[in-house]
């Protein structure tokens, strides 16, 4: 449905520490809820989030069913080199959602 939302400063001074915010649309079905007929609704969550800069891992997270629906993840980055930030979210169903942003260090 909706594309993931990311907030990355357009540019940063070398050495500056910036915050990166991410938000993705996902129900994060826990696997413990039951439907109206009493059947367990199967678990379907995003289980892994990663962020790379120029293909080098800078931050990642393993998520469990206790992460809220429409997961929010914010972290920081020290501006050292310009390049491409790649964000990926891995779904239990095998799908991977991704987006990217340019990061300019001056």
């Amino acid at each position: 449905m909706a594309k993931p939302r990311i907030k990355v400063p357009k540019s940063a001074a070398k050495g500056e520490i910036v915050e990166i915010k991410t938000l993705i649309s996902h129900k994060m079905e826990t696997g413990i809820r039951k439907d109206r007929d009493g059947n367990i609704i199967p678990r379907q969550i995003i289980n892994k989030f990663t962020c790379t800069l120029n293909d080098k891992m800078v931050f990642s997270a393993d998520w469990y069913p206790a992460v809220s629906a429409n997961p929010y993840m914010a972290f920081h980055l020290r501006a050292s080199e310009s390049g491409k930030l790649n964000f990926t979210w891995q779904d239990d169903n095998g799908e991977t959602y991704s987006t990217s942003a340019d990061f300019n260090v001056s």
Binding site: L53, V58, F59, A66, S68, A74, H76, L77, R78
Partner: protein, 158 residues
């Protein structure tokens, strides 16, 4: 409570334990024995995440609401005091919840590129409970911090 444990005054202690239990039951709507069972699960999960290393207190700051308006979406901020250099940084922070069906919430993996070991996310809390964060440093040392969050249940919003 530790002072009470060594007290021989059984009746007074009995009263305190009872009132404590009543307070917990009133706050959570559940008996405290259930929370205790989950405490063990958290200890097991911590062992799985960071091994047998003994945990130290300090260095971790947890930013959590005292009272969460709704357990579906409880914001959590984590900061670990570290220079975040190649030789001295926070490798990972694991978040656990003592009163949830499963102890694990999230594991955050940092690198020196982060500059600061500071992150935030949102989590589900089934009821009033302790949230535990465990940080593993690049030198293998492990720190631990616990914060209680009261979760509002009932009413039209619950």
């Amino acid at each position: 409570m530790t002072r009470m444990d060594s007290s021989p005054h059984v009746t007074r202690r009995h009263v305190l334990v009872l009132t404590g239990a009543a307070a917990v039951a009133a706050g959570t709507g559940l008996l405290p024995s259930i929370a205790a069972a989950d405490k063990a699960a958290v200890e097991a999960a911590i062992k799985k995440a960071v091994g047998d290393a003994s945990t130290m207190s300090g260095r971790i700051t947890l930013d959590l609401p005292q009272i969460a308006e709704n357990g579906n979406t409880v914001p959590i901020g984590i900061e670990v005091d570290s220079p975040m250099t190649e030789s001295d940084y926070v490798k990972s922070v694991h978040i656990f919840a003592e009163g949830n069906p499963n102890p694990e919430v999230a594991s955050l993996h940092f690198t020196p590129a982060n500059g600061v070991a500071k992150a935030s996310t949102r989590m589900r809390l089934l009821r009033t409970q302790n949230v535990v964060a465990v940080a593993k440093m690049s030198d293998g040392s492990v720190y631990r911090e616990t914060v209680e969050v009261k979760v509002t249940i009932g009413g039209c919003g619950g």
